[in-house]
Symmetry: C2
Subunit: 367 residues, 2 copies
C-alpha cells in the first residue's frame, strides 16, 4: 500500500486557520486562539492523533451541540491552593488553560496549586498544560479522563479512557523532562495501524468480546463500534502476570483525580447520548497541578541536578543492540524542532478534510 506524500504547512499558518475556524463557529477569539494553539502544539510534537487531524471532530462537536460555543466556564469551588472550574460543556482547551494558569498563580503565592475541571470536553494533549509550568520554574501536572476504550484487569468491558498522565519538570541546559503517557498499553491509533497492515497484534495489547486476549485488531475495533465488549489493555497487559493491575490502577487514579474530584462523569458514564442518538456534552473532567520548585530547594540547584540526572541516564551503557537511551519528551522536542523549521506534514486525507472545512466556512486554507 503506497503512502501518498504529505504536504507541509507552517505551524503558524495552521494555527491561524484553526483559530479562524473556531471563530466562524461562534467561539470567542481568545478561546479560539487557545484551542488552536493546543491543537497545533500536538502536531508540532508529532502527536498527530491529537492535532489538526481532529479539527473536523471539533467542528462537528460544536455543530452537534456536544461542545457549546457560548459556554461560560466559572469557578464553582475554591480554597487558597485549590479550585474547581465548571467548563459549562464548552471546548475543553480554554477552561483547561485557565485552570492551569490558576494552579500556577496559586503555586506562585503558596508553593502549590491544584485546579480540577468538570463538565468539559476533549482538551487535546495532556502534556501541553503540564509544560505551561516550565517557564515559571514549576513542576506541572495534568490528567484527564476520556472516552471508554480500556478494560480493567479481569473485566470484560472497557470502563476507562486511555486516561493520560502528564508531568513536566525543567532542566538547565538539558531539555525538560516531559512525561505524557496514556495509562493503556497503546492508544487506539496503534490498533488501527495494525488493522490497516493486516498484522496480528502483539500479545497483551487488547481483549476480545469475552474479555480474553486477542491478536485480531479488526475484531477489537469492530467491538468498539458495536459495544460488544473487550478493549485495549491497561499498561502491563492482561491479568496480573506483567502487572496489568498497575496500569488499571493508574487509569482509575486518573478517573478519581480528573472526574470524581471535580464532580465530572467517570468510568463508562462519559460521552452520554440523548435518546434520539444525538451526542451530548461528554461531561469529562481534568486535573491540573503546579509545584514551585523553590518551595523545596533553590531552582538553580534543582536544575543542575536535573541536568546531571538526565546526562547520567543518557550516557549510561546501552543494552546490546540499542543505540540510545531517551529521556521523556526528547523525541517530541526533536520532532518539534524539525516541524517548526520544515512545516507540519499533513496526510492527504487530513489536508482534504481541512480544505473542505475552509471552503465551507469561507476561510482561506494556507498554501
Amino acid at each position: 500500500m503506497a503512502e501518498e506524500a504529505p504536504t507541509h504547512i507552517r505551524a503558524d499558518a495552521l494555527r491561524q486557520f484553526c483559530a479562524e475556524t473556531f471563530v466562524a463557529l461562534g467561539i470567542e477569539t481568545a478561546d479560539a486562539e487557545i484551542t488552536a494553539e493546543v491543537l497545533v502544539a500536538a502536531d508540532l510534537r508529532g502527536v498527530d492523533s491529537h492535532g489538526v487531524a481532529r479539527l473536523k471532530r471539533y467542528v462537528d462537536g460544536i455543530r452537534d451541540g456536544m461542545m457549546r460555543p457560548d459556554a461560560k466556564p466559572r469557578v464553582v469551588y475554591e480554597t487558597a491552593a485549590t479550585a474547581t472550574i465548571d467548563a459549562d460543556a464548552g471546548l475543553g482547551q480554554p477552561p483547561s488553560h485557565w485552570a492551569m494558569q490558576m494552579a500556577m498563580e496559586k503555586a506562585e503565592r503558596l508553593g502549590a496549586g491544584f485546579v480540577a475541571v468538570r463538565n468539559s470536553n476533549h482538551y487535546g494533549i495532556a502534556g501541553y498544560y503540564a509544560m505551561m509550568a516550565l517557564e515559571k520554574d514549576m513542576i506541572g501536572i495534568s490528567t484527564t479522563n476520556a472516552d471508554v476504550l480500556v478494560v480493567p484487569t479481569f473485566g470484560r468491558n472497557s470502563m476507562f479512557g486511555t486516561n493520560p498522565i502528564a508531568v513536566a519538570a525543567p532542566a538547565l541546559k538539558e531539555r525538560p523532562f516531559v512525561l505524557d503517557m496514556a495509562t493503556s498499553v497503546v492508544p487506539r491509533g496503534k490498533l488501527e495501524v495494525y488493522d490497516r497492515l493486516g498484522k496480528p497484534l502483539p500479545e497483551g495489547w487488547a481483549t476480545d468480546e469475552t474479555g480474553v486476549g486477542t491478536l485480531d485488531a479488526a475484531r477489537v475495533l469492530k467491538n468498539f463500534t458495536t459495544r460488544a465488549g473487550g478493549g485495549i489493555l491497561p499498561l502491563g497487559g492482561e491479568g496480573e502476570l506483567h502487572s496489568g493491575h498497575k496500569g488499571y490502577g493508574l487509569a482509575l487514579l486518573v478517573d478519581i483525580l480528573s472526574a470524581v474530584l471535580p464532580g465530572a462523569a467517570y468510568a463508562d458514564l462519559v460521552y452520554p447520548k440523548a435518546a434520539e442518538g444525538k451526542p451530548l456534552p461528554s461531561k469529562i473532567g481534568h486535573f491540573f497541578g503546579a509545584l514551585r520548585i523553590d518551595g523545596f530547594r533553590p531552582v538553580d540547584e534543582f536544575k543542575a541536578d536535573m541536568d546531571e540526572l538526565i546526562t547520567r541516564i543518557k550516557n549510561a551503557p546501552k543494552a546490546a543492540g540499542a543505540e540510545r537511551i531517551y529521556i521523556h519528551g526528547e523525541k517530541e522536542f526533536e520532532e518539534q524542532d524539525e516541524r517548526q523549521a520544515q512545516g507540519i506534514p499533513l496526510h492527504p486525507k487530513v489536508l482534504r478534510a481541512l480544505r473542505s472545512i475552509g471552503e465551507e466556512l469561507g476561510i482561506p486554507f494556507p498554501a
Copy 2:
C-alpha cells in the same frame, strides 16, 4: 520442597517487640514506635517483604552507621504549601511520618500541602503515608526512590529502584482506593521465588548482563550481587512494544519528585559505600502530598461518587474465566482483617531472626 508452618504472632505484640528493639538501639521512644507501626502495617497488609522480616536489616543498619540513631531531622526549606525536611541520615519512617503530617496540616489550612524529604533511609511501605490522609478526608500521595534494581528502556544497567507510587482516596461505605505500586514490572522478591522454584521467568520481567531479556532468575540475581549489569524491567517490559518506556518514565518521575526536588541522591548514586566497603547512609529521598477533598467539592458528594465508581467497576461483567474485579487496596484490606484477628504468620526463618535479635538485646519475644 515442604514449607515449614508459620507461627502466628499478634500485631500489637510484634509492634511492641520492634519498638523495644529500636529503643534498645538508641532510638527515641516516639520514633521507635512510629517505625514499628509502619513495619507491622506492612505485615498486616500482607506485604511481608517490607515488614518485620526486614527488622534485622534495620538493626544492622543502625549498628553499621547507615541509619544514625541520634538523627535530628529538621525543616530546611518551607513555603505556605511546601517544605523540605533533611532526615539527618536516620531511620526513614520518623521524618516521613512528620513530613506527611506537615503536608496534611498545610492542606488543612490551604487545600494542598507537599513535603519532600532528603538524606533519608528506607521508609517502609509507601502506602502507609498515603493512607494517613484518609481519616482527614484528604487524598494522600507518597513516593520514594530506592536501591537500584531497575533498568531504563534501552539501558544495560539498573539505574533506578523499584520507585513506588502510592495514592489513597477515601470512599463512603466502600473501602478506600489505595494504589501502592512499584513502577517496575515486579519486585525483586518475585525473582527470588522463581529462582527457588527453578522456574523460568515470564518474558518481559528482567534483562541479563548485556541488557537483553532473560528468563534466568538466578542469573539476574547473581548479576545484582556482582553489579554485572541488567536488572528488573520497568512496568511495560522490554523496549517500547508494550510501552516499557512508560514504566521507565514513572520511575524517573519518582526520582525527580523524591530525590531531585528535595536534593537527595538519585538514580544509581543512592546507597553509596565508603572506600573500606562500609555502608553509608543511603541518602534516598521521599515525596509526600495531601489534597483536601473539600478544596474541590463537598466531601459527601465525593465519597458517594467514589462508592458508585467502585461498585460500578466491581459489578461490571467479568472476563471469561475471571471471577472478580478488584479495586486497589482491597486484597490488602481483606488480608489485614484476617491478620488482625488471627495474628501475623511469621515464616520460621523470620521467627528465628527475630528471636535472635530479642535474645541479644534482652527483649522478650512474644509467645
